[in-house]
Symmetry: C2
Subunit: 401 residues, 2 copies
């Protein structure tokens, strides 16, 4: 079933046993999951996928679960890839697409990381895990944990989105808040896991969530008939999604599923003006980002002042000839209004930041009107009900419009 | 592409031209969409579906759009069919399943009716439509209308779920409220469409939404390898979904895609104690339901005091040997807690009513522990944030759990 081979440090390249519980490498860096891709390429071909389940588990040979009984699934992945002709016409982009992750369980892409992370935790015998969260990852991990019968403890900032709090509570997570940023929540988690022997499943501190997220890259290629867009715009908080997409595309290349003539897309990091550590590091030519102080943005999912894997994000952007760009919140809200009204897709603010970024990059001449541009929307607008606050007129019972 | 043939009255069986704009039959009853199923059976086989798009439009020959350019899609359908082993064990059902419609655009099954209804409206040249809604249907039609460039006017009760109001507003619908029930909103719509020449797309008054909903039946059969469950529990408001599933299964039979040895599932109407017109009519042996006065339930989507197609629902239940059952809101909330905590699926109250109904039907001996029972969850729990109101403990920055 799975061609899982071992874990490899993303920085020092040391190898680690995948069948033991692991967090970071001894050098302090995140671990990547490696497969025997040569054997996988002999065992499965793209045409074999056609009749398989409409979920990311259709790629099971390239995912880290050895025994299918350990798969904890709520039907995640195989989200739609939608053309955006009306928004594209308004922006001046003739071949604009949206990969819409709001269709996942818990209505965000976080379900992808949770299905592989929790499945592998179950397979390795973990019964309790804990993590800090800005909200959506917590809701997802709580849901998959509930389905697996694994106890989940979450700590989130007090301004975490109410919908994530609701979702985590509904499925019975042990959820707490802290007056601070996700980095403050992370510190409490790190101390607490030691005291209780819980598994620490914070972003980058566990190796398997990236595997779920890389399937966004697999799906984009499969849905485009094993071709790729010219550019992918990605709303970047921790950046695991972008790292995952890049890893996925590299694996497809090695598998021989992407012909050599298909060029990799330029990967574009989109952050908010109020929290743009990776954009700053990129333009300063640095390999690692500094912590962003007083981080603030309407797009709460990308309010990550410092991410452990930022150097992997910067590497992916540079290796693909991409760029990094920050947008002000007011432009994000403009983008939300335009994509919602023109395409009927009420997306999350993180995704809406991409609309603003596309406009800006086109004005700067970095994007060309004929390029195939894919925006990766990470979640549903209804998870952020406070962003808009509509008031409807009330009619009399006898009214006629 | 489509084997659309004509429209047929669900009561008097008069035929109508499908290529003209139609509402009700001249006898006042809803119209059903008919196809040349013999020709369709020659043109397409179940095996042809395997490589197709993961959306309900994979069944395009059996859907009412003639020109694919008129398809208005947000990636709806092909929602997951999830086994529920932990909830099943608690209830005493050994083969319990959830068809989870929360993965659709706008997070409810209403997207299915909207994609076929709006696509066909576009194909027939409609540029403005209006409808009453309890909330979710309005959000869906507003979204598909926006994507099609069709103007959508909605009227909903003042206690419609805030998330639907948000969604409809975000995509730019002309949305209004009225202090009353959906039947009051419907009266205003009926008067207003005449004044403005809008198309009236109220449930049952337009023929095409049932076509999207019937694909729930198609998908259940395809996902179970062209077999069927023994029982389907369905949360019933207007009942179009149940009528659609039954119509879909009848079409599959006629196409020869379901072997004669596969028995139809018993269809079970689940309503709330506070609004159970169809349950009452069923137990009184009546063919048509009376309007339910002072309708009230936490499951707002099934608060429909009187539905135009109730006789079709009652017919489907009786023809399949099903039953009708009402559950109190407190049992619905119990069901919501149990399915969320045991399976990680935070579903809507309408879906949670099915958990309560399953328990009751099992206690009554109507359900057997070994039957394959499928619950059709119509939407996501996050669309009803007021049903639960969690409060999380706040930790100090220096805390350790």
């Amino acid at each position: 079933m799975s061609f899982l081979s071992h874990l490899e440090c993303s920085r020092c390249h040391a190898t680690h046993d995948a069948d033991r519980i692991q967090n970071l490498c001894s050098c302090g860096s995140p671990l990547l999951v490696r497969y025997d891709l040569k054997a996988a390429a002999r065992a499965v071909r793209p045409a074999d996928l056609a009749g398989r389940i409409s979920s990311l588990w259709r790629y099971r040979e390239l995912l880290p679960v050895r025994n299918p009984d350990n798969i904890v699934s709520l039907g995640e992945g195989m989200t739609p890839l939608l053309p955006l002709p009306r928004l594209g016409a308004e922006l001046g982009l003739r071949d604009l697409w949206l990969k819409d992750e709001s269709h996942n369980p818990t209505a965000t892409f976080k379900a992808r990381g949770a299905t592989t992370g929790v499945s592998r935790a179950k397979e390795l015998g973990i019964t309790s895990l804990a993590m800090p969260t800005n909200g959506n990852a917590g809701g997802a991990w709580a849901s998959y944990g509930a389905r697996a019968g694994i106890s989940v403890t979450l700590i989130m900032p007090t301004d975490a989105p109410a919908m994530s709090v609701l979702e985590a509570s509904a499925v019975g997570a042990n959820a707490y808040m802290v007056r601070g940023q996700i980095t403050d929540a992370a510190a409490i988690v790190s101390r607490s896991v030691k005291a209780h022997g819980w598994f620490e499943s914070a972003t980058f501190k566990e190796p398997y969530r990236t595997e779920g997220k890389k399937t966004m890259g697999y799906e984009i290629a499969e849905q485009l008939g094993w071709s790729l867009p010219d550019v992918i715009l990605y709303p970047t908080g921790g950046g695991i999604g972008l790292i995952g997409i890049y890893k996925g595309l590299q694996e497809l290349r090695e598998l021989g599923w992407l012909p050599d003539t298909v060029r990799f897309p330029k990967l574009v990091v989109v952050q908010a003006e109020g929290c743009q550590p990776i954009v700053k590091a990129f333009h300063e030519g640095k390999e690692v980002a500094e912590k962003w102080e007083n981080a603030s943005t309407v797009a709460q999912g990308i309010r990550v002042p410092k991410a452990l894997g930022d150097y992997q994000v910067l590497r992916a952007v540079r290796e693909t000839g991409g760029t990094c760009i920050a947008v002000p919140d007011e432009d994000t809200l403009w983008g939300l209004e335009r994509i919602s009204r023109l395409e009927g897709t009420f997306i999350c603010p993180e995704g809406a930041a991409l609309v603003a970024a596309a406009r800006l990059l086109l004005r700067q001449g970095w994007l060309q009107p004929d390029q195939r541009v894919l925006m990766l929307n990470t979640g549903a607008g209804i998870k952020y009900p406070d962003v808009l606050a509509p008031k409807l007129p009330i009619l009399e019972l006898s009214a006629t419009l």
